[in-house]
């Protein structure tokens, strides 16, 4: 399995990272960690997870942050941006230089890069813009044109507005309160920017509703979207099955895919944005998903054992099991999980 071997070499590492700096950046914090092995493997769009609260912590879940940038100083540093909105991120904000953190990364599928020079529009909502600047560097290296479209609720929540203006061919800023750039949302300006910049491809990172709208708008012009999603994660490495969302595979089948290992970057049109937070009825393994023909064939192949067992379950088991509550494919629980269309 040569694929497995290359994966292992390029794969993530779990290391002790030393805090170099923690600084305020407007409404956010930026933390720089010395973690050479993580920095060496990094590709834009990937993220790190951190254990928070120290060895006796009561907070058991990893915190995931997309990597803003890596630098060669001190052997290799990793910087990420975060907002304080809970005890875990508060603890992180209180770290000081030389503190040591347990860090794992780089994790996840990075932004794919265009083979030929293209006009790229990078759209960020809030501090979702953090991973876009390293991407911009890589794109420029390949001769791509880079335009920025950044937005947030207010001016102090637009992360990287200055860098975007300095490094982008154009930089459009929107704020909901009008305190920076034009008043409104990034999606209000998207049409205009796409036309002016003659955009070939969109890279986006931010809240789900923003990603959904960008995908819908870009779809009208047949512009591909690479969207980095923000889903709640517990582990970040693909074992906990917490961060799933419905994604259509290349075979046309919708699966509840893990945003940590199958993402966080997805092709916009592959994500069923309207069904996020639900199990679509036609998702792989959803109640009643399996084609009837195959179910019948299986039942026969199993010598009718499962069907007959269900039928006489009142006898063979002390606890009666009602037909239709037999679990997978029984149809009895259809209504329960189908919040989606």
């Amino acid at each position: 399995m040569t694929l497995g071997e290359t994966e292992a070499q390029a794969g993530p590492v779990q290391v002790r990272g030393t805090v170099l700096t923690v600084r305020r950046v407007d409404a956010y914090y930026a933390m720089t960690l010395v973690a050479p092995a993580v920095a060496a493997r990094f590709r834009p769009g990937q993220f790190v997870t951190l254990a928070v609260g120290g060895p006796d912590t009561s907070m058991l879940l990893s915190r995931a942050f997309s990597i803003h940038d890596v630098r060669p100083d001190h052997g290799g540093t990793v910087e990420f941006v975060f907002a304080v909105h809970g005890r875990g991120t508060q603890w992180l904000a209180e770290r000081r230089a030389r503190d040591v953190l347990d860090v794992t990364g780089p994790l996840g599928r990075p932004f794919p890069l265009p083979r030929d020079p293209a006009s790229c529009l990078l759209v960020g909502g809030g501090y979702g813009s953090a991973p876009l600047f390293a991407l911009a560097g890589k794109l420029r290296d390949r001769g791509c044109q880079v335009d920025f479209l950044l937005g947030a609720a207010s001016g102090d929540r637009v992360f990287g507005a200055l860098t975007a203006r300095r490094t982008g061919r154009t930089a459009t800023i929107t704020t909901e309160d009008g305190s920076l750039g034009s008043r409104g949302m990034v999606t209000d300006m998207l049409d205009q920017v796409i036309h002016e910049a003659r955009t070939d491809v969109i890279y986006a990172c931010g809240p789900m509703p923003m990603l959904r709208q960008i995908t819908a708008l870009a779809g009208r012009y047949d512009i591909p979207v690479q969207a980095a999603v923000e889903e709640a994660m517990a582990c970040g490495i693909g074992v906990c099955m917490t961060c799933v969302l419905p994604v259509i595979g290349s075979d046309g089948i919708t699966r509840m895919s893990r945003s940590c290992v199958d993402g966080p970057v997805f092709r916009g049109e592959q994500v069923r944005w309207d069904d996020v937070g639900t199990i679509p009825f036609d998702a792989f393994g959803a109640p009643g998903w399996e084609p009837r023909s195959r179910r019948a064939a299986q039942a026969q192949a199993a010598n009718g054992s499962s069907e007959s067992e269900r039928g006489k379950s009142g006898l063979s088991q002390a606890r009666p099991v009602k037909p239709g509550h037999g679990g997978r494919g029984s149809g009895g629980n259809l209504g329960k999980q189908n919040h989606g269309s």
Binding site: A8, V239, I279, G285, A286, W289, S316, V321
Partner: protein, 325 residues
Amino acid sequence: MAVDLRAKLGHIELPNPIMTASGCAGAGRELAQFMDVSKIGAIVTKSVMLGPRSGRPTPRMAETPSGMLNSIGLQGPGIDAFLQRDLPWLLSRGARAVVSIAGGTVAEFADLAGRLSDAAGVTAIEVNISCPNVEHRGQVFACDPDASAAVIEAVRSRARYDIPVFAKLSPDVTDIVAIAKSCVKAGADGLSMINTLLGMVIDTDTMRPHLAGLTGGLSGPAIRPIAVRCIWQVREALPNVPIIGMGGVRTGLDALELILAGASMVSVGTTIFHDPSACMRILRELEEELTTRGVDRLADVVGLAHESRVATGRPVSPHAAVRRK
């Protein structure tokens, strides 16, 4: 000098007692990026079902004090994909595979046991009769002694004779000893305890339940004392039945606590989520703790807490008191 860490899983000998807990390590592949999966006692897989299963809607997780709720709902690709992809991979890495199985009916459990017996290389079967994230409480077989027995009997009769069958029990019962006895009588070679406890979190901002599935299974150090109690009670009643202990193990000392209560093996679960190589660390720490206490054979301390209570009630070694602060 080196402690003899060998552990017995039924009649099968494992190099050491540390295993992953079902549902916290996938089928080992992801963890292999951070540790050698053949170095721990066994990989206990995420529960495998007959067919693919999409699980529950999101949000599926809530962090709680020293714990978390999960409401995954047994998402997985099913036994075919497991046998094609995951089991061969585990074996190719030299890992021992303890396969957790889950089903909605007795027949599904039996079919799974049959399929696993036809495949080579399954070290043991852990029968998940206690997943709380199912459509209704009646599907938690481990809440009822007869329902538990029906599943275990069916699995035992279909599983190959040399594959040990462990029943995974729920602590959410009035009398776990009654369930344990029922499972053993039905043919279980051993018991795994504990599964998660049914819990709930309400989001005070939205003023609605936080989890899309409303309830979820509580795990993490918050439930460790419950695990210790359950293992203790069952060991007291069934001193010769091997126990895989799990529930909030974060350090080697935690593992030792479960072993003293009566566990021969210890599974590590939720801790993996913030420390992917936790199993290796805990194994190292356990060996250190045993060395500190002058113990040179792990088997000597399995269930030891029961004896010391009768004997003198004092720690095995004077170091113990110091180490425990």
